[in-house]
Structure formats: C-alpha cells, structure tokens
Symmetry: C2
Subunit: 199 residues, 2 copies
Amino acid sequence: MNKTRAKLVAVATEQFAERGFYGVSVAQISDQLGLTKQALLHHFGSKEKLYAEVLQTISEELMQSINQPGTGESMQAQPEQVFANLCETCLTNSTATQLLVRELLDNKRRAESARQWYLKEFLASLNQVILNDARCSGISETEAMTIVYQTLGAINYFAISKPTFSRIYDGKTYRAVEKDYAREIASLIKARLDSITAG
Amino acid sequence: MNKTRAKLVAVATEQFAERGFYGVSVAQISDQLGLTKQALLHHFGSKEKLYAEVLQTISEELMQSINQPGTGESMQAQPEQVFANLCETCLTNSTATQLLVRELLDNKRRAESARQWYLKEFLASLNQVILNDARCSGISETEAMTIVYQTLGAINYFAISKPTFSRIYDGKTYRAVEKDYAREIASLIKARLDSITAG
DNA sequence: ATTAAAACTTACCAAGTGGTAAGTTGTCAA
DNA sequence: TTGACAACTTACCACTTGGTAAGTTTTAAT
C-alpha cells in the first residue's frame, strides 16, 4: 500500500474507532488530515469504501499479529500462550479493538461479508487450539466455543474499557490492572481448562 | 413514569441500541412510533435529553435486576451466583446490554456523569463480592478488579455477539451456547477462584 | 360550558451530510 | 518540452440533520 494512503487510512481508523461510522463525517476526517473533503473522497470514492478499507487493513494486521508465534512454541500451541498473545495484541492496538467491537454491534446492518469469513476462520482456529489441548479430551465443540467466547470477551471488554475505567478511578489504577492483564488471561484459561480434568 | 412516555423510551432504546446515538435520527424514532419528529421533541426537548432518559431508565432496570437475590441466598453472596444472575439478566435484556457497551465505547465524548457513579457503585459491589469470598483471602484489590473485569467481559461480549455469531454459524448454534452460558460463567469464575487456593 | 394544559401538526430554518462535475496544480517519465 | 496521470480545489447539489415558532386539536378538570 502507498505510504500517504496508509496515513489516510490510519487517521480514518482512529476517527472511526473513536466515534463510530455515523459519528464521524468525511469532512471531519479530511480536516484532521489537512485536506479538503473532496480530496479524501477522490482517494477512496466514498465514505463506505474508506471504511471498508479501514476494516480490511486492521483485520489483516490483527490476523498477522495472531499468526506470529509468541515465544517460540514448537508444534502445539498452548491456549494460555495463544490467548495471552492475543490479549497483548488487543491491548496494544486498542484502537483496532475498539473498531472491531463497534463492528460487532453494527454488524446487523452493514453486512461485511468479507470480514465475516475472516472472523469465522479466526474463531475456528481458536476453537481448535482449545480442542487440541490435552486437558479438553472429552469436551464438546459447543463447550469449546463457549470457552473461546468467554476468553475473547474477557480480553476485548477490558481493552475497550480504558476511557471509562480511567475516568471512574484514574489512569494509574487502569495501568496497574493493564500491566498484568495478559498474564491474568493466561491464569483464567489455565484455571478453566485445569478444572475440566479435575472436576 | 407515564405509560405513553415509557413506550416512547422503549422504542428509542431499541433504536439507539441497534444503531447507536449517531446512527438514528429523531425522525426515524418518531416514524417508528407513528408520530411526527416534532411531537417526539416536544416530549423530551432534544435528542440528547431523550437519550439521557433512555440511559437512565436501563441503568435503573439493570441495577434493580442485579440487587434482586437470585435463588434465596442468605447473608453471603456467592460469586458464582451473582455473576450467573448478572449473565442471565444481560442475555435477557440484550438490547440494554448492547446500549451500555456502546456507551462504554462512546463514553470519552458524551461524558455522562450520572451514569458514571452508578457504574462505580456497581463495580465496587462486584469487587466486594470477590473480596468477601473465602477463597480470596490473600488477594489484592487490583487482582479482584481484574477478575471482575474478566467476568464482566465474558458476559457482555457474548451478549452483544448474537447477530454476528448467528450469521457466521446459525441461530441454532448460538442458542445452544446461550442456553448454558450463565452456568458456564459460574464454572469459569469457580475455576478461577478455586485455583487461587489450589496453587 | 369554560378553561387550561398537554399532545400534536404544519411550516420553517441554518447547518451539515455524502457526493458529483469540472477544472487546476504538481510530478515525472518519454 | 510535452503528455499523462495523480493529487487536489472550487463550486455546487439534493437531502437530511436537530431544532424553533406558532398554531391546532385533544383531554380532562372545574
């Protein structure tokens, strides 16, 4: 991708993430870029297409970041590792996470078929990580899915809570929780998986 | 509250939850009600005020629903029970949940101070539920907060995922997971709390 | 029957929305 | 130097936005 185009997408991403699709106007985004509204439209054709490109870009980034092994595991990916890595990624790219959660909420309307099967693939691979684990031998696919969703939720919800959380308490408190959050996600899923064999 | 006014708020709630504050216009809401735009504005003064009333109403409902004891526990509220109940509530009132997650995302802009201390109180009480539990004797407040957030996330994320989830797989699959989700939340938090004393 | 307030409508408005059309400027290879 | 194309601007457009003003209908208490 072009470098200036990447800049446009980056700024648009920020704006869409912060205010939502309907919350930002093309003019606002172009203002922030020091361009006229029409210049921006010239590049992408329409607001929808700009948004689509934003969505595709962060989907790719996220997918890429997930497929990278965390700290050199061999064949089998450990759930603890996988989800801790994912958590790290979501907390680092909190803007992208925000946008994806927004998309989850708006998805009923703006049917983004491209992103949907990326998501399906993504969920399927997380599901496999659970099912492949030694502790989950007797588990059903529904149960695996449940655990995936719970963990995904634990990660995403916290990632988008920063502004509110920071206002209710303060930034320091948030960062204290944030610091260990990925590790705590690992603890959570470990506890849950261990409890299967134990109980 | 007035009965017709309640109806107005109910419809507005649905619309705001589905499309977000900027995604709906006053005209759209009033159309759905069979009213003119100006009739609706007459009742609430402005779009912002209508939204504020929507928010306050669902906050009250949720708070009320949470304070009701689930199935007659005596003095000490068990974390498993509390969060399972909360989960049930969120899944039942998924519209309200959607809206509150939206609010979480938009909160940076539309500073809703009233809702904020309700939320603070709410989080504090959940925190206490964890800290009061026998298994959490040596735990720090930060760790308790982490567990609260993880569980809250596991609940809310799933509650808002219904449309996307249902489209990726199908409605039947979703309902299969949904059916046991509250119980699974209980299992999750049980596993996590048990793991503290265990190891 | 009178009155007053609540519920609602018609008629506007300024500002903003996404988008089109046509032209201008800048860049750079042939 | 010329030609071509991308980057960008100016000038619009039809439409929607939230909101105001002023009037009409409905409801209900006196």
